[in-house]
């Protein structure tokens, strides 16, 4: 038995009076695709943000490769190899697509000057290869001028390009069309083949069932089911999600 590369142990998270997560525990193995499912407001995004270092837990422990860690900021979690597609996309409307994709991780000369031409080229490539998005003619378009799905595609392209060990996807397909969704799900499987783990948050159980190895189902801030694909069917999954 391998050691899980990421493990949450009794994680609690409070926002003022509200307890968004209560004693949440689950783990992610290498190359595994986890479906994180649950009702609206169940706490899925909170869990994703916590693993990404955006929120600090109010209690509980986090382990990476079996070693206890504390993600006190995004940089820590990035160092541990975690890359995230946020539900709110985390894009800057007033910047171009290229500058959004490379935001914080620019390609630079030694003096820190941007290699703009190179970045523009890569941006277009990765947009095409990650989600086959259409309608984006230029990597210099401002993100604020894009359609809902195009924005999401940019966020996906960024995460796929910089992925390392674990990819967190928080409802990545919510604004994507059929074709682009297919492309993204294939991308997740391709990464799995490269031993990259994924945690997929989605409300579309078909999508989840299509790519996930295991399902973690949350309700009101706690885990209520943790079940491998082999042990369940889509109709049973639907029941779990709807009835809790």
């Amino acid at each position: 038995m391998h050691m899980p590369i990421l493990e949450l142990h009794n994680i609690t998270k409070r926002f003022g009076a509200l307890t968004a997560l209560r004693d949440l525990s689950f783990h992610v193995n290498e190359g595994e695709v986890i479906g994180l499912l649950g009702d609206n407001g169940a706490g899925k995004s909170t869990a994703v943000n916590l693993i990404s270092g955006i929120h600090k837990p109010s209690g509980g422990h986090l382990f990476v490769d079996g070693k206890q860690t504390l993600f006190s900021c995004r940089t820590d979690s990035a160092e541990a190899g975690i890359e995230t597609i946020y539900q709110n996309t985390a894009l800057v409307d007033s910047l171009s697509i290229t500058r959004n994709i490379f935001m914080g991780r620019e390609l630079c000369t030694h003096a820190g000057m941007l290699k703009l031409a190179e970045m523009r080229e890569i941006a277009m490539q990765v947009l095409k290869s990650a989600v086959h998005i259409s309608g984006i003619d230029s990597p210099d378009m401002l993100v604020g001028e894009l359609s809902g799905g195009q924005k999401q595609a940019v966020a996906i392209a960024r995460a796929v390009f910089f992925k390392r060990r674990i990819l967190m996807l928080d409802e990545p397909t919510s604004a994507l069309s059929v074709r682009e969704t297919e492309a993204l799900l294939n991308q997740v499987l391709k990464l799995k083949a490269e031993n990259v783990s994924s945690v997929l948050v989605t409300h579309n159980l078909y999508h989840a069932y299509q790519v996930c190895d295991r399902f973690v189902i949350m309700s009101h801030g706690t885990k209520v089911f943790d079940v491998a694909k082999a042990d369940t069917s889509i109709s049973q999954l639907t029941e779990y999600v709807v009835l809790t």
């Binding site: 409070r14 926002f15 009076a17 309700s219 801030g221 706690t222 089911f225 079940v227």
Partner: protein, 341 residues
């Protein structure tokens, strides 16, 4: 490592809301933190004044009277500026408008007009100027910062154009004087006005339809437009209110000193914005409360007052005021973060 489906917890725990102490709930409410900060500061002052009534004459009747006379000018101005800030716009011109309308009123009364006509005229001019700023801002799609910075210079110049660089006496007769400068139930008339206007603004902003539109416009202009709010009308109204309140503050100040200086009101715009920001208004609009503005204005004056009473070296008074304003704001923000936990 695969596990059989596992029912982790049979019944999902509903009601994820913790109970909070009343204090915590107060702090969490809008302007709650500033209220707590304000009360704490008052308690400290009063305690010290009771212990050393001769050293620190905070509670002497003269001092209370002056405080009540001092607060309303900045307070009324801050109310107007605050509404506009919540609607997402700035007004840097209020200090100049305040001087201009006061001079117009004084000159008119000097040349025989009844003050009961001249004062509404002043407010009307303030409203008209506010509308003009709003019109330019919205029509030309400019930042109100630049338009009202222009207003700051322009109306200051207009004061000179209207009456030259001369100080104007204002002698409105006892009826008018009593209405704005007298005493009623032991409380200064100007302070009554400030209280009444604060209440009116509270109702307008927090209990009236218009206030909802102001918050929506400032909070997310696109959303407000999308839902059918006429954001331009809301902003125009807010501009008019800011201008009118600046003029009203001018009336209170003029009644108090009995004359107007063409240079007066310089820097008042920043003070008014500071009062609002201390009171919890956001510079980008959409957030704030009338109670916050009220307390912000009170706080600035209390701080100056306390410093003078404690005989802080007057030459460097501004340094102390600066430290205390920033300190009060930091204290407020600290309480607030505690409240959010």
């Amino acid at each position: 490592m695969t596990a059989a489906p596992m029912l982790v917890q049979a019944t999902a725990p509903h009601g994820r809301l913790r109970r909070q102490s009343p204090l915590m709930r107060l702090i969490g409410a809008p302007a709650g933190a500033i209220l707590v900060a304000f009360i704490l500061i008052q308690v400290l002052c009063i305690a010290y004044a009771l212990i050393a009534p001769d050293e620190f004459r905070y509670l002497s009747s003269q001092n209370l009277t002056i405080l009540m006379k001092a607060v309303p000018v900045l307070g009324c101005m801050a109310l107007g500026v605050g509404v506009l800030m919540i609607a997402g716009e700035f007004d840097l011109s209020v200090g100049s408008v305040y001087a201009l309308t006061a001079i117009v009123m004084a000159v008119q009364v000097g040349s025989g007009m009844s003050p009961f006509l001249a004062a509404p005229l002043a407010v009307l001019i303030g409203v008209a100027i506010g509308l003009l700023h709003g019109f330019i801002t919205l029509r030309a799609a400019l930042p109100s910062f630049i338009v009202t910075l222009g207003g700051l210079l322009f109306w200051r110049g207009a004061v000179l154009l209207y009456n030259g660089a001369v100080q104007v006496r204002f002698d409105p007769g006892p009826a008018f004087q009593g209405l704005f400068g007298g005493t009623f139930l032991g409380i200064n008339a100007a302070f009554w006005w400030f209280l009444a206007l604060s209440l009116a603004f509270y109702l307008l902003l927090h209990r009236h339809r218009f206030g909802n539109h102001v918050f929506a416009t400032g909070g997310n202009r696109a959303a407000a437009t999308a839902i059918g709010i006429d954001v331009n009308r809301v902003k125009m109204t807010a501009f008019a209110i800011a201008g009118g309140m600046a003029a009203f503050a001018g009336i209170l100040a003029t009644v108090r000193v009995g004359s107007v200086q063409p240079g007066q009101g310089t820097g008042l715009e920043l003070q008014a914005i500071a009062a609002c920001v201390i009171g919890g208004l956001s510079l980008t609009g959409g957030r704030g409360s009338v109670l916050g503005i009220f307390l912000g204005g009170m706080l600035i004056h209390t701080i100056t007052n306390v410093l003078l009473l404690m005989r802080a070296p007057g030459f460097y008074l501004d340094m102390f005021i600066a430290v205390l304003i920033v300190g009060a704001a930091a204290f407020n923000s600290m309480i607030e973060r505690k409240g959010r936990g």
